[in-house]
Symmetry: C2
Subunit: 350 residues, 2 copies
């Protein structure tokens, strides 16, 4: 029987993933579309893909408006591919999102950004096989159109090379079998995905954060001299943290990533998130590296500064979204105590 | 004959200054109101002042729509009090703004923020007496209302204690005589205004910049833990730069300034500037200290980071204001060269 795959997250990564699996036709694919279910289930998805071409009104064979409904109608699932943003400081964590569909034999594959995203997932589902994937894909979700501009390359492996799960090789083989479309994408086993995660962070913890904070695209940042003044030194701090964890990010990658968007006037996704008042992945992309630096005694003054600034920005996005309503009367004394007051009166309720 | 004073800048500082001089009635005051002349010259100014009370429809006896007109109608001037923002990277510098009214015997008093603002002024007018003033005043310019919330305290002195001008004592005495209103304001001679400038920078180069970049008021920043994570370490970098120039900023001032806005949910002026799409004083408040640090070999990674980010922000404000129209075709090669391309093709024209 074909394995059952639930894809959670219908943005640029999730939709192309769903399309690839469907094209391969060796699994039973269910796509969760939470925010736009009515339209997608009736009119379908539109895709402009560098590999799959122009796809119009594609309705995945199984679409569900929620993870709960997906489980009831199409579960239990052999795999959950998690393709949402990962925002551990939001009201609903990724673990909460997929929980209704996780059964005893479900393998969970995290196709998300950031470092250490596997840890809370492992803690929430200690008996499930959890795999980690890095999707390198230039795919964005414009309203009613997925724009897919670069080959879908996915590196998949155990979430921690030191904790290889007895079933992981079998699952990896099967994932590659059902996901890889020869000539259309590359699904590659990776014995150490954590290295890939550090590599990718070089870009995401710098360009993404800087663009998100300033509201300015990458090329414009570079016109102000940011390459040498800010981006390279910040990337070197990420490299130093990776090094303290035993990972050597290649020196050549630094130069490559500084120049990867030259001339493109590219707007990193965090810029779009902030612009749209959406929560950002600051905690997985920057908060976790900064905490690792602190644990390992690596000095990262630039990243600390960016992180502090981005925490302020995230706070204001949460307030805009009415995640909390601030009562100024709660904050009248010595401001050194404000963080604790907020934690007690506002954050602890959820 | 009463000395003639031209006040340039009709914001929170300039209007209270003009009102103080007028109340003292020992000088002939001309106020330049560039952006709102029609309204101010017919309906007058409204002031809610902690010291002068509620003032409605106050029309200064001499108002001019431009520095040129002021000179023609009411000049030549014995004094120019410069109360505008100081934005040396804008199309029109402060030196350009006042030039039409500077005559041989004009003394120029800079009542502006930042460090080293006296240097370009001295270079532009090497034969004029230039004095430096720090105005400590909680005064903001809401539409049609100046809100003045703290005692006007002004420290005035030579712009450089090592280069005391032969006429400076006479000018200082006269300024205090025509400006000081017993019980209403404090106009104080200061043999070393540069110390005051460093002290004030502790706040302006940190809170102002952080609020400007994030769009978030001071108390909200503090709720996210910024006091210890960002603001105090940034203030200590300013203290280190001041120290490298021979100025000891008192340790107690750091604690005082961190907590000066506790409970007030105060929006620093740079936040308002960014919000309104106005150019900020980033170069005088942060750029100049960072350049001094570089010259003196002081490591300031936090301020460097904030400065790089704020330069990006200022760039985008200039673009919004149509100070330039970017042609993306000019920026297609290696991004390390973008800054030079911009300098050559865009910035050198003015």
């Amino acid at each position: 029987m074909a394995p059952k795959v639930l894809i959670v997250g219908s943005g640029g990564v999730g939709v192309i993933c769903a399309y690839s699996l469907t094209k391969r036709a060796k699994s039973e694919v269910t796509l969760v579309v939470r925010s736009d279910y009515q339209r997608v289930s009736t009119q379908g998805l539109n895709i402009d893909s560098v590999n799959y071409g122009t796809v119009r009104n594609w309705i995945p064979s199984q679409v569900a408006p929620s993870v709960e409904t997906a489980r009831t109608q199409y579960g239990p699932f052999d795999y959950i591919f998690l393709c949402t943003k990962n925002v551990p400081d939001s009201r609903v964590t990724c673990e909460d999102i997929i929980r209704p569909a996780v059964s005893e034999n479900t393998t969970i594959l995290l196709l998300q950004n950031g470092i250490d995203i596997e840890k809370p997932m492992h803690k929430a589902f200690p008996h499930n096989l959890i795999l980690s994937g890095i999707s390198l894909i230039g795919s964005t979700n414009s309203p009613n159109l997925i724009q897919h501009k670069a080959l879908e390359q996915v590196f998949v492996g155990d979430f921690d090379k030191s904790q290889s799960h007895p079933d992981s090789q079998k699952a990896l083989d099967e994932i590659i079998d059902i996901y890889h479309n020869e000539g259309f994408n590359l699904i590659l086993p990776d014995a150490d995905v954590r290295q890939q995660r550090w590599n990718k962070l070089l870009y995401n913890a710098t360009f993404n954060i800087i663009a998100g904070l300033t509201g300015v695209d990458a090329c414009r940042c570079q016109i102000t001299g940011a390459n040498s003044a800010l981006i390279e030194p910040a990337m070197r701090e990420i490299m130093a943290i990776a090094k303290s964890e035993g990972y050597d990010v290649p020196e050549a990658l630094l130069d490559k990533l500084i120049h990867i968007g030259d001339g493109l006037f590219y707007r990193p996704s965090m810029l779009t998130d902030v612009h749209n008042g959406q929560l950002t992945e600051v905690e997985t992309v920057l908060g976790n590296p900064v905490r690792i630096a602190q644990k390992n005694g690596v000095a990262v003054p630039i990243l600390n500064t960016l992180y502090s600034m981005m925490k302020i920005k995230q706070f204001s996005i949460k307030e805009q979204r009415k995640d909390f309503v601030l009562n100024e009367e709660d904050f009248k004394g010595n401001s050194d105590g404000y963080e604790a007051i907020f934690e007690e009166k506002y954050a602890s309720h959820h």
